[in-house]
Every structure is written in C-alpha cells, then in structure tokens.
Amino acid sequence: MKKVFIYLTLLLVVVSMTSIGVGCKSTKTTTEEAEAVEAVPEKVTEEEVKKEQVVLEIWDSEEREPAKIAWDYLLGEFKKEYPHITVEVSAVSWGDMFTKVEAGLKTNTLPDILMSWGSLPPQFARMGAIQSITDVIQDIGEDQFPASAMKYYKYNDENIAMPIAIYTDVLFYRSDIYEDLGLEPPTTWDEVLENSKAIMENTDMYGIGLYMAAHEADIFYGLMGANNGAIVGQDGESITINSPEAVEVLEYLKELFKYSSTDMLVKSAGDVRVLVTEGNVAQILTSTSFCANILSLEDTSMKFSAVTFPTNKGDKGTMFNPVTYEITSTTEHLEEAKLLFKFMCRDDIALEFHKLYIPGHVPAIKSVNENEEFWNSPNVKDIVGIIQAGVTANEKAILAAQELGPNSVAGVIMGTGVVGSMVQKVLLDGMDPQEALEWCEQELTEALK
C-alpha cells in the first residue's frame, strides 16, 4: 500500500511538472523573430521607437462584414498615429459575452477593452470587471452623446461605458401599401391599430408582426416606456409592474394581436422579420438594425419606411439598445486604451467609421449625426428616413425594465423570461391582464430575492 501511494505521488508530480512546462511560454525567439519584433516602420520618429510596444485586446461580438470593414479602417488609422500600439480584436459571440467576462474576471484573463450593449455595462461594473472612464468622456464632451443613453452608463456617479452606435426600436411599415390604401404614418396608438386593421382587411397581409418569445419581450418593454409605466420602482429594486399602465399595455396588445398571429407571437424577432421581408406582414416594431435586411432585398417593389412609435402617456418612448465600449478593471494599458477611445470619437475618424459601419445603426456621436456627409453616404442615403426616425426616438428611448433610470435588476428580470411568458398567457391562454400581472409581480419579486 505504501509503495502504491509513493508511485501515485510520483505520477502526480510528473504530470504537474509536465503541465507547468508546457504552460510556460518560451521567451526565446529565433533571430528572425527578434528582427521582426524590433523592425520599425521607416517614417516613425525616434520617440515612437523608444515607446514600449503595446498590444491592446478587445472582445467584440459584432462580426458582420460592415463592422469589420469599419474597424479595419479605424485600426489602420490608429496604427498610423500610434505605431507602438497594436489592437487585436477577438470575436466573442453575443450569447457568450457575459459568461466569458465572468470567467475572465475570476481568472484574470480579461482583455483591455470590452464591447457590450444594453444593460450589460452596469452589471459588469457591479462585478468589478470595468473601470471609470469619466475623464475620457469629459475630454470628448459628454454632450456629444445622447443624454438618454449616458444616464444608463453611470455607476457610483462615474461614467463606465462609451456608446458608439444605437439600435432603436421604430415602427417599420410598407410605404407602398400605405400609399395604396391612403394611410398616413401613425401618431397615436389608436392610429397604429387603425392602420393595422385597414391593412388586414384590404390585403392578404398581417397588419403587424407581434413577436413575444419569452426572452424577447421587447415590444412589451417598449410599450411600457411609451405608456409611462415602470417595471422597477424608483428605488431600483422593487417590482412595480402590476400597475394601471401595464394593464393598458396588455389590453392594447390584445387589440393589436387581432392583426397578428399566434405563430408570430412565439417566434423571435429575426423570424418575424423574415415574414416581413417575404411580404406576409406590413408593419413591425423592431430595431433599426432591420435596415440591413431591407437593403439586401431583391424585390425592389417592396418599399419600407419607419416612424417613431407614438408615446401614449408621459414623456418616454420605446426601447433602444446602445452598443458600448468599456475599459476593463484589469487592463495594464490604461492610457493606451483611453487613447483609442478618444481616437474613435475624433470628428474625422468617427465620420468615416460610421459611414462604413452596419447600415441601420444610429451613431451615438453628435458630430456625426450633424454632418451631411454621413447622411449622404452609400450605407445611409437609401434609409435616411428610417435613421432619422431612430435619432428622434433616441431622445426619449429607454432600456428594457429601466424606464425610471438605471437599475441593477433589469438583467435578471429579462433573464427570467417571466414578462414574455406573462404576455403569452394573456394573448394565448386568455388570462385576465390583472391576474397575469399579479402572477408576474410575484414571480419577479421571488426571483430577485
């Protein structure tokens, strides 16, 4: 038995030493590698040469081609200006970002810069994964960014995220169908209903595409904002979804549902968008990213336009989803990361970047939105009306479940899927809205304990 123990111990030691040896990176380079590392571009000054070579790593979830083109441009220009800084962008899928950041924080393997969206930045801040960039925002000018977005990206009164692009929910509609039926873009909730009814009665299309998969209850969140409702109270913790405003929203959805279908209700936004581009549905409340689908349509007889979804009560609108960048708390290249952030917002660079970026995004930077060159650029000129609707909508847009301002529970609320399930119970199972809201309130309250 003693011998067995000795042998096992020896084996463990051998395995451990082998692992350590394999895990250690070799610091030796071949002559060629050394020459390549030390080689410098011809036109760089001596001062630049003396600066330590820095590699900034970014985790980015946006893998669509226009985003890559825009980033290639930006990083190329950045390299010319700061040759000692190399930026490497690593792709992380949307669904994996939170888990990767969580794991990266625990293992001290976070990158220098993170890309995130929506209500993720405050969650990252609460985890301790990102740090303040107040000085960067102040240098750029906080008024360069929409106030409606910046209020969500403060933690302990510090700016923690810089929005770059915003995808805002607007009401897309078939302008050719509107023209045929003599309809006007709606300015009230009743007009949305009337237009949907007219389309359904006079064409073979559905009036509106209502999607409400359990974890994609964006339409409900948006209507709550546009009806002065609040899912979370002013204290940022209590559940206040059971309210007269929420009952009104559910009753309104019941009316709208008459011009949609059961099938669409449980589909994702992506699937319902396909139905719209196939000519089955005439209207859809969805984000301006839908422009990418519209621009790739082969059937040019289908014309699309968009309008800000009307506000029914109060002074807020529907949902938006800003894409943001943050500097991690573990970066060893803080100054270089800040340089990149400021460079991204420089007027000339930002303009070219957003001209190339994904069609359908609304630039978060004011100087770009005020520049005619942006509106006349190839990616924008065919969807000017839609992007302008997004710019208008941004002014009073809200983040899901954060109608009254930032809170730390919105992510959990959306994650439970209870809100989407509640809407499905009302629309599919005929549950009384009041009863459904009581159930939802109880479920959310218990989930947050």
Binding site: K3, Y7, Q123, A214, V412, A447
Partner: protein, 293 residues
C-alpha cells in the same frame, strides 16, 4: 508478480481517474453543495448558506412544477412511442431483403444529423407560412390554412414529442435489431409449426428472449430524454407559454439567464434524485431470476 501487476494497473488507470475526478466528481459534489447556498455572481463573497430554501422555492414559485410535468410527459411519451415504432421497424429490417444494408444505413440519418441542424430543418419544414409540410397538406386539400405545429399552445408539446421520436428512433431501432438478431431461428420456427401468429410469436417467444434489451433501451432513453436540453431549446425555447418548458431548459434559464446558480443546482439535484429512484424502482420491478442487468 501479482502485486506488481496490480500496481501497474493502478498506474495506468490513475490519469483517467484524476481527470474524471477534476471534471466530473468535483463539479458533481460542488453542484450539490451550492444548491444549499444563496449565490450572487456579482459578489461571490456574499454567498451564504440557506439550507433547503432553494429546494422549497422551486416547489412554491417559478416554473419548476410545470417544467417537471412537461419533462415527464415528454420523456415517457417519446420513449414508449419510440420503442413501439422501433420494434416494428427492427422486425422489418430483420427480414432478409434486397438492399437491406443500404436501407439500414439510410435509416440512421436522423441520428447522425446534429441537433442544431435537425431542429432548424424541422422548425422551417413545419413553419406555418413557409413549411413544406403545411404546403403539402394544403396542396392535397387536407387543411384550409397552415397548422402552427410548434407555435400553437395546444400542439407544441405533441410536435416536440414527434421530433424527439424522429431523432431518437434510429438508435432504439438499431439496439432492438441487434437483440432480434441474437434470437435463434429454431424457437421461432417451432412456434410457427405450433400455429402461433406474429403477435403470439413476438409476445411469447421474441419479447421474453430480448427483454433485457428493452430494459436497457427504456432506461437509457428515459435518462437521455429526461436530460435532453439542446433539441427542445432549439425547437421552441420552452414556449409557447411554457408549454414545452422542460427541466433542463429551466436549469439553463435559471443558471445562465437569471444567474442564480443555487436554485439551478437545486433543480439539478432534484433531477438526479428522480432518475436514481426511477432506475432503482424500474430494475427492482423488472428483474427476474437470471435476467437482472
């Protein structure tokens, strides 16, 4: 000599045991431990012991009961249907005919297609507006308009059961076929001489001889279907209106969307206990002298 052989055996097995210990046994026990804690992923230092509260929460609130019922319905329905259909197909495939080898190979295709691809194909084949299945039904005037197979609250579970059966059928068939091929022809021929019909032949000759094969298929299919996450998630994500919400989906949502590892772990432990009890009872009830597994 014997001692050194033993030592050598242990040495060869040790790396595997160490790896299994690290990636299976440790997480297994850790999962049980954190099911008794209130966990906070944002501030793990704030985790604290709460006894059985996570277990009580699941039985009082949330979608656990609904998910449990859905899982039981899905698991046992799809398993029983699979075994019945697999038996019929295995009997057919056991008959000597031309092209039997090719037919058997083609029959394995649903099993070889990845869950993501299969779910995507099925979702769109049965789509209300674009699905080929609905279009064929309309073409032959069997329906006036398309049927929302996976999006109707009344049909979603039936459709998911159907998809499960389709996906798991090849494996069940192959295993039962292997059992059938072990049966001696003498017994079957003798029964035919005695005037037994096909059903009597199956019930009194074939089934008793390969009973243990059915036990293995039943137990494994129940365990696999009970724990099967990806296929249902890709088909319906547990909807519409939680009609196809299963325990694995519930665990996933609780752990990765609500970020409550404690409650998710509690559900996982309950699932484990259920399966252990099921297997124990099943083996006890079905074991006979000389035929227990």
């Amino acid at each position: 000599m014997r001692k050194s052989r033993t030592i050598l055996s242990i040495l060869f097995v040790s790396p595997a045991i160490i790896i299994i210990g690290l990636i299976v046994i440790y997480p297994f026990f850790y999962n049980i431990i954190i099911s008794f804690f209130n966990t906070d992923i944002f501030e793990p230092a704030n985790n604290y012991f709460i006894g059985v509260n996570n277990y009580l929460y699941n039985f009082k609130y949330g979608s656990f009961i609904k998910a449990l019922l859905n899982t039981l319905i899905l698991t046992f329905s799809s398993t029983v249907i699979q075994i019945i259909i697999a038996t019929v197909i295995a009997i057919i495939l056991n008959v000597k005919m031309r092209g039997r080898g090719i037919i058997r190979s083609m029959y394995l295709m649903p099993w070889t297609i990845g869950a993501y691809v299969a779910a995507y194909i099925i979702r769109w084949m049965f789509d209300l507006n674009f699905g080929i299945f609905n279009q064929l039904l309309a073409l032959f005037s069997l329906v006036e308009k398309g049927i929302p197979w996976f999006t109707s609250p009344n049909l979603a579970m039936l459709s998911v059961i159907g998809a499960h059966v389709w996906k798991g059928l090849p494996w069940s068939t192959i295993v039962i076929l292997a059992g059938l091929q072990m049966i001696s022809n003498d017994a079957i021929e003798a029964s035919r001489v005695d005037g037994a019909n096909y059903w009597q032949e199956f019930r009194y000759i074939v089934f008793p001889m390969i009973r243990y094969v059915y036990m293995v298929v039943f137990i494994l299919r129940v365990i696999w279907d009970f724990n099967w996450f990806d296929f249902v998630w890709l088909l319906t994500s547990g909807g519409p209106s939680d009609r196809t919400l299963t325990l694995p989906i519930h665990v996933y949502k609780t752990a990765f969307l609500v970020h409550d590892a404690g409650k998710a772990s509690a559900v996982g432990v309950i699932m484990l206990i259920f399966l252990i009890i099921f297997v124990f009872i099943f083996l006890k009830v079905s074991s006979t002298e000389g035929e227990s597994l």
